[in-house]
Amino acid sequence: MSPLLQQFITDSHDILERMSQALLALEKNPGDEGVIDELFRAVHTLKGNSGLFDIPTFTRVVHAAEDLLDKVRDKELSIDNDLTDELLESMDFIQRMVDMVEASGAIPDDFTDEADARIERLRALLPESDGHDLVFEEPADQVQPPDTLDWIARIPEAERLDACLASGGHALSAIRYVPEPECFFKGEDPLLLLRNLPGRQAFVISPIEPYSAQAEIDVYRSNFELQALSTASPAEIRDHFRYMPEQVAVYAVPPTALAIAVGEDLSDDGLRDDFLANAETLLAKGDVALLAVAAGAVLDLISPDLKTASMLRFIRQLALAGAEVPVLSALVKALATGEVPSLDIADAAAESLQDAVPPAAPAPRVKSAGASGLGRNTLAVQIVTTQRQLLDLPVPPDQWDGRLLAIGNTLRSLLAVQGGSEAVGALEAVLANCAEERSFLSLAFHLEALLPSGDDDIEDPSDSGALPASVAVAAVPVRSDAASADTLGDAPKAAAEHGDKSARVLKVPQEKVDRLMDLIGEMVVAKNALPYLATKAEEVYGSRDLAREIKAQFAVINRIAEDMQDGIMQVRMLPMSSVFQRFPRLVRDVARQLGKRVRLVLEGEEAEADKHIVESLGDPLIHILRNSLDHGLETPEARRAAGKPEEGRITVRASQEGDRVLIEIEDDGKGIDPAVIKRKAFEKGLIDETRLESISDQEAIQLVFAPGFSTAETVSNLSGRGVGMDVVKNSLEKIGGQVRLTSEKGRGTRIALTLPLSVAVSNVLMVKMNGQRFGVPMDVVVETVRVPRDEIHVIKGRRVSVLRGKIVPLFGADELLSLPEAPIANAEGEYAVLVVRVDGATVGMIVDGFAQTTDVILKPLEGPLSGLAGFAGSALLGDGSVLLVLDMKELMNGA
């Protein structure tokens, strides 16, 4: 799969995700224009992106959704539940298409029918009056080229002649620059811009409102209109005015337009007719040089003040400049008729020159001439090609920003003329993306897409131009960027505005971070060797000073290593919001399906935990939420009957507690009836009769976590599809989490999950057994006690002891680990007992003795060892020895 397609897929997921959030937000608050705009931008981006790939079905559906949202944006349509449903379903469909593209690179044909039906349904929601196509919107304040070229007549003839010479007989760029009134406050100096205009020829400054007509004049409100001629290309000029593109119109002026003869309209003794006859022959032969000479000869003879003389000067000048025959014929004709070279002629000439200079700004916005117009325009293609090549050149880091800026400016000016506002918007987005990623990659793709390929015939050029825009929209929801993640489509815009800020956010492949973490882990282990070395220096080599110095060094290295570890953990941290954002949609859909009214309250979304933890949380949480919705909350009628508000409430709350993160899911539904649970459990054979009698309500509730337990009477399509709470529990325990459930009948249920903040480093307690050390994860350890031999009782071959008023079964570590020798008691005849909590039960393990606790990087057992039950993994200790870490749960189950 091409990286471009890959990026498209990633971005599409992202956009769809944010769109669904926006839709839900909108349903609650239909008037929020900000959200509507975001939504529209997002779908627009999606459409644009899809245009780059051969997935017309996709584009069509998105387009239909875009049309609908456009109407919403224009307030012709209001958001209601049905509309939201339709849009959400369409988004699901789009999502499925994205999945298909991801899996197979294309959308199968059988999607076409559904797509058609969907488009039909979306169209049906459009208001009747829809007749006009809103393909393109002109920014209201975009300065347009003037209607006439009258202003040129105000330029003195001498300057116009100079301009003719400078033009080389080709069209000139004309600029109409209307600085906005407030421009002075933005630090702009329009005259300075004009002064520094590349290739500047003649210019005209005029007040927009005559000053004499104004009673009070504010000198700090610009009242000027500037018009100028330039030999520079439109691209250069656009670049020059890059900070105020909307205030500038650039268009082409043929040199004939400059040839406005002025002077006295007096007789010239027939010299004009002589010249005309001569000129016709010369032009027929194409002898431009001789025409210049002929014009010069006549000029020597007649009064320079004559109108004829004026026109002749233009003819000579343009002939000298090397103008083409059609241009000169137009002038000669004008001389014959005594009129100004007519605009028709001028246009014809301009057309013939189109290759050299693209026409005025508005023309390229015509749909057919969009980005694919680039294909015909050799100059534009050259510029883009050059920029593309620039991207491939190596660039020193300190010049990187400059390079991007320069290339961006060039392209921006070019596209502003060539592709219209849409293409520029697309480019901006790509540029923002580049700045963010500090990579030219997406820009390179963008340019490749713009450049004509062999069979380039893009259906909708404006779209193809806009396409990689969406690529950029995937505002990296990196942690520090969480804020930008909730504003959807305009992330790139924001990024562009805060270019400096976003440029400091890095997007790094996870493998790199993982590798760094592994290395730091090794570093931590390596530094732990220093205390051993210190001991050796003292004991073996007898150098106490050296030992002290090593210890001092160790303290320093230890601090740095810990900081490093802390730092890398921070990098991997992800806010809970990245999982939570999936919930509103889920809850809404399920609630609507069940006919329940639910309010979802999310709290503590900013709490952070390791990426791995956060990501593994998604599915279990969704399962719990579904359960709450399906089994927990009652229907509005039932709630009313029970004297509760009709709207149920589910709260998902995340918070940090020490080195663990706590997530609570609370509903105010009917709660769990322990009696029902007990009966069910008994029926399913999960508990026996005695246990049925003795079990406490609180314990009974925990039975929902037992494998094979499901209370749903009928299998609904929500919960109860055979995946029970036991799966939730297991998947959470795999990442070191714990689940606690409390419920009060009629009042609601609360499930509390606690998870480690990070999985990388585990805190283990080391125990000694048969001269070997084993690690036990600290989170299962309850306490370590010394139990005198005579307090250990043997019941039916099982050892037990009474600890804090409870009977605790004891197991010898030798039995559990198949070690040859039984645990030894200390001099006082006391055994070391490690009390752990496994599956809610407290058990003790008798060992030889305890050692210290330590932080280790736990590595799962691999290869032939991976089949060994009872071990969570191995870890390397500072002295180079390997520590086996026990999995107490597995050990106890085997006992």
């Binding site: 105000r154 600085p179 002075f184 702009e188 100096d189 329009p190 005259l191 300075l192 002064r195 210019f203 005209v204 400054i205 005029s206 007040p207 005559p210 000053y211 004499s212 007509a213 104004q214 004049i217 000198v219 700090y220 610009s222 009242n223 000027f224």
Partner: protein, 82 residues
């Protein structure tokens, strides 16, 4: 100081920046008979040009810079046309 204002004459030298526009305009409004000397002017901000265009006064010395001279020529000439 790029802007020197006396009772009868405003002298602009070097580069006259945007902040001076207000002062110049006030002066021009208060001294209808004052003259303006721009001989040593190298650049003036658009707002300054606007002040001169809005309240035209006899210019005793045109700027040596052809661009500025052209700007003033156009703006003060138009004033007379209107």
């Amino acid at each position: 100081m790029a802007l020197k204002l006396s009772k009868s004459k405003a002298e602009l030298t070097g580069e006259v920046v945007v902040d001076d526009a207000e002062a110049l305009y006030q002066w021009l409004a208060a001294n209808p008979k004052g003259t303006v000397s721009l001989g040593k002017l190298t650049h003036m901000h658009t707002a300054v040009v606007q002040a001169l265009a809005a309240a035209p006064r006899p210019i005793t010395a045109m700027p040596a810079d052809p661009f500025l001279a052209e700007c003033l020529r156009q703006l003060t000439a138009q004033q007379q046309d209107n």
